[in-house]
């Protein structure tokens, strides 16, 4: 598809995104996302998981427009708490705390919040441009992928996501195995045989993805917060007239915003928690090239502009592998993949052909959503900051009641609620023992696709496993997987050598 063709499709996307219904859901997603980002302890993963049941009555385009809005809205909202109270609303805002909070302590919370919002808007918009022009050619390349390439790509995605989400690689791989096993419950996707259903009709469709997502992320998050139901925060919110940055602030932030956007967009294309890595990389780059690096950590505005721009650009480019390859490279997009499948949309290279309205409508809605977020995050910052005054001891029961109601509304099955509670308890225990829930959920969603690709590959090759290494693209993914698997072993070996050297 040529660039002009992309622009034509984008115009169609705007026609879809600007219908009253889609504008409403785009704004709703942006507002809810900002709230999710503002509230510490409730990240975009839990936010999207909790809201999936609400989208069941919507058509697939409106549903994904709203859920995508929650994801990138959370990136905007996360900066508010980082700057005002030194508590990151979500993990991608950790770097913003360093200089944002210092600026707030010096009475410059207003410019920090404004630059964070402006940087997020510019980077988000540039990220969407990249998405428009990069996704179609990448989809053309991915159309040439056969089952072996997809199998190797999925294995690569699992291993890399397991490797970079933090913690033990072995634990993450075991969780991926559990997710894949749970994904085999129900009808065999190739032959239609019943597997592990034990005669239960409601298990024929497999384990309900929403129950697992809300349980592992929503309920487990609530239970973790129940341990320490802290009182409401004392927040000093700057008045509206103090929000405007000076010309010097804008001049110093301009380059940082553009660099942050570039770094974020690039990192978002790589598997892993892209917004977190992008903010860290952007902060390090800004400090390296700063004329006065000693200002970093003491309230340098570039330390807010760069990371905030990076996390939004990364968030936008994370949609490319999801839409084009059908493989989520970041945890929140794994939940979005589940939502797409629930709505009968199978993302991948054929998405642009089979569901062009959804693809271009969602992209166009991101432009609108970014604009809505800019409008929300400048004048309404005091309003959002006031949310922090709601005590957790009120918020947690409210979220729990919404989880129960939302889960029941999916299929009107009590069994789904019990499954959600069981996965909630499991998720809580997993957090205690540092096991990774994202790997399990990603494997549960991708498991059936992985199995089909694996079995089709063996059928094509008449049982010859060489098919996975004979094809260059598949071999490249497997080699990359091998490199990622060997990294922790190399680190262990280096640590052992270091210990021996110290003892000697």
């Amino acid at each position: 598809m040529n660039p002009l063709g992309s622009l034509e499709h984008l115009a169609t996307g705007f026609a879809i995104a600007t219908t009253f219904q889609n504008l409403f859901y785009c704004t709703m997603g942006a507002v809810i996302g900002t709230l999710v980002g503002v509230l510490p302890g409730l990240g975009p993963i839990a936010g999207i998981a909790l809201l999936i049941p609400v989208t069941f009555g919507l058509d697939s385009t409106s549903a994904i427009i709203m859920l995508a809005g929650i994801y990138y809205g959370a990136m905007y909202g996360g900066s508010t708490t980082s700057i005002l109270i030194n508590v990151p609303g979500e993990t991608a805002s950790v770097m913003t705390c360093r200089d944002g909070y210092q600026m707030a302590r010096k009475g410059r919370a207003g410019p920090a919040l404004a630059i964070a919002a402006l940087g997020s808007f510019v980077a988000g918009t540039l990220g969407i441009f990249g998405l428009v022009f990069l996704a179609p050619p990448l989809a053309d390349v991915a159309l040439a992928f056969g089952p072996p390439e997809f199998f190797s790509l999925m294995v690569f995605g699992f291993v890399v996501l397991s490797n970079v989400t933090g913690g033990s690689l072995v634990k993450a791989l075991m969780m991926a195995m559990v997710g894949l096993i749970l994904g085999t419950i129900g009808l065999d996707p190739v032959t239609g045989n019943h597997r592990f259903t034990f005669g239960t009709v409601s298990l024929l469709g497999g384990i309900e993805f929403v129950a697992v997502a809300i349980g592992l992320f929503g309920i487990a998050e609530v239970l973790s917060n129940v341990e320490q139901p802290a009182d409401a925060q004392t927040v000093r919110v700057p008045p509206l007239r103090q929000l405007y940055p000076s010309l010097d602030d804008l001049r110093r932030s301009f380059g940082a915003i553009l660099r942050g956007a570039g770094i974020g967009f690039g990192v978002g294309l790589v598997p892993g928690p892209a917004p977190v890595i992008a903010t860290y990389a952007s902060y390090m780059v800004e400090r390296q090239i700063a004329k006065r690096p000693e200002e970093f950590g003491e309230g340098a505005i570039q330390g807010v502009a760069g990371p905030e721009s990076a996390n939004n650009a990364a968030c936008q480019s994370a949609f490319i592998p999801l839409f084009v390859l059908g493989i989520p490279f970041a945890p929140p997009t794994a939940i979005l993949l589940g939502a797409l499948l629930i709505h009968g949309v199978n993302p991948g290279p054929t998405l642009l052909v089979e569901h062009p309205n959804l693809f271009w409508g969602v992209i166009a809605s991101m432009y609108i959503g970014n604009f809505v977020l800019l409008l929300l995050n400048l004048p309404f910052v005091p309003l959002f900051a006031n949310i922090l005054r709601i005590p957790k001891r009120v918020l947690l029961p409210l979220v729990m009641v919404c989880c129960l109601t939302g889960m029941y509304s999916v299929n009107n099955f009590m069994l789904d609620i019990w499954a959600m509670l069981a996965f909630g308890a499991l998720g809580y225990v997993m957090r205690k023992w540092a096991y990774e829930g994202t790997a399990l959920l990603l494997a549960l969603v991708l498991g059936p696709k992985l199995e089909v690709a694996f079995r089709q590959s063996l059928m094509i090759s008449h049982g010859d496993f060489g098919i996975f290494v004979d094809r260059p693209v598949s071999l490249a993914f497997l080699l990359a997987t091998g490199v990622f698997l060997s990294l922790p072993l190399l680190r262990l070996g280096k640590a052992a050598r270091e210990r021996r050297r110290v003892h000697a």
Binding site: M177, M400, S409, N412, L421, L458, M459, G463
Partner: protein, 154 residues
């Protein structure tokens, strides 16, 4: 170590149950092939991890403080709160069909606020009542979700 043992057992169980399904051949793998491979891989990973943990436990000094030993009283109180919270949610789920959605939303909200130490109690009751009312309006009347009406009242 308990988690690794549980995963080991889950892997073994999966492998055994997979053997009851048709396995097919390498040329045409059947329903049991993929879960069997996964069960075996999980078993291998969990066994390796368990062995690693046992070696680490043996290597640790005998007088080392067990994890979580410090601040144990605070941990116990926090754990008790989590158990009570989850217990209230389980009870609410069990009562959902006999009592119906609105009374259960009110009772569960009140119980959860009490467990988290919300004071004064009249405010808890007011919040619970408002939540139940709001949920009823939004989910039942606005979104038209057929939430249980309660067979005790019919």
């Amino acid at each position: 170590m308990a988690a690794a043992a549980a995963l080991l057992a889950f892997g073994v169980l999966t492998a055994l149950l997979s053997l009851q399904l048709p396995l097919g051949t390498l040329r045409a793998p059947d329903s049991g092939f993929f879960p069997l491979a996964l069960g075996l891989m999980l078993t291998a990973l969990a066994a390796g991890h368990l062995g690693q943990l046992r070696r680490a436990a043996r290597a640790a000094p005998a007088d080392a403080e067990p994890p979580g030993a410090s601040g144990a009283a605070g941990d116990r109180a926090a754990m008790l709160r989590v158990v009570q919270f989850m217990g209230a949610v389980v009870a609410a789920t069990a009562l959902l069909q006999p009592l119906g959605y609105a009374p259960v939303a009110f009772l569960s909200m009140g119980a959860l606020l009490e467990i988290l130490g919300m004071r004064p109690r009249w405010l808890s009751a007011l919040i619970a009542l408002a939540t139940a009312g709001m949920c009823q309006v939004v989910f039942v009347h606005w979104l038209r979700i057929p939430l249980p009406a309660g067979w005790l009242w019919s």
